[in-house]
Symmetry: C2
Subunit: 184 residues, 2 copies
Amino acid sequence: DMEQLFSKTLTVSVRTRDCEERKSSIRITVDQSTTSAHKRSLCVKLTDDSDPYFLFNLSISEEDFQSLKVQQGLLVDFSSFPQKFIELLNLCHSEQDANCPRFLLQLCSQGPAPEGLSTLSVVETNAFKHLNHLSLRLSPGSDRDVKDYLASCLARLKEDKDALELRLKKTEDDLSRQLSCTQQ
Amino acid sequence: DMEQLFSKTLTVSVRTRDCEERKSSIRITVDQSTTSAHKRSLCVKLTDDSDPYFLFNLSISEEDFQSLKVQQGLLVDFSSFPQKFIELLNLCHSEQDANCPRFLLQLCSQGPAPEGLSTLSVVETNAFKHLNHLSLRLSPGSDRDVKDYLASCLARLKEDKDALELRLKKTEDDLSRQLSCTQQ
């Protein structure tokens, strides 16, 4: 069972190993999945609407969260973590068009560009320093992950296209009906 | 360098190992590619517009063709093979809605459904027997192949959708302009 908690396109500052930095529009999706044994896990997915091959993901189980909590000194528990994470993402989203955004998303890739692990960080910048609120290590999607992601994009896009075709048909019908009314 | 020679949706009689047989609409694409060393090869691709994961392909180099020629007693050479193959596909296409099509495409899978090799055959049925005109052994696409195929589908569908959106916009503008003309 899968529930989508968040899906927005956010401005992310992407840093690759050779130190170049650029702003990218990256879609961040947060899903909560529950297995049949009532085990919950949180899935974080980064995709790029303009690059079908771009996919990073991370699945956080309750056990994964315990070590993340210790490592990063988090004070929330697993059940309230998703909400806090989404609050941080929304803070970044609300400030992303500002000149000097106080909250910023950074994606730093450790290895060579497409293969290595990448770290997504929520960074607050104040007058004194950069404060790291959260860092998550994401893995690049495998061929199979990307395949599944693209198949779901394709299905959604087909639905959109079918809906558009219906709307166009209806608009054309309206047009010709109204025209014939006028000409009578 | 890649040139598309053929791409049509054809009715194929699909047989899996457990002997069930069903008719499927399968897109067959034939491309000719030329490498920088002027080596040509023929690429045959089977896809299913309703199943994003369905992909079989075969690449035939000039050397591959020589053994195919011997095995199946072909009388044409590599340069005229594509045209002859496409003639056979068009024969199947022209007869596919007939009650008893004389030419028929068969796809038989040897192994377990998604993994194994499959054989695509062009079979003529006359009053006396089934005549096998050509059999090609296709491999199921890897995750990477399917990924690339889906990315190209997605790009094409996006173009279609953008074109539809433009047309809808134009039709709506036309409608409101004609309406305002009428009301004056």
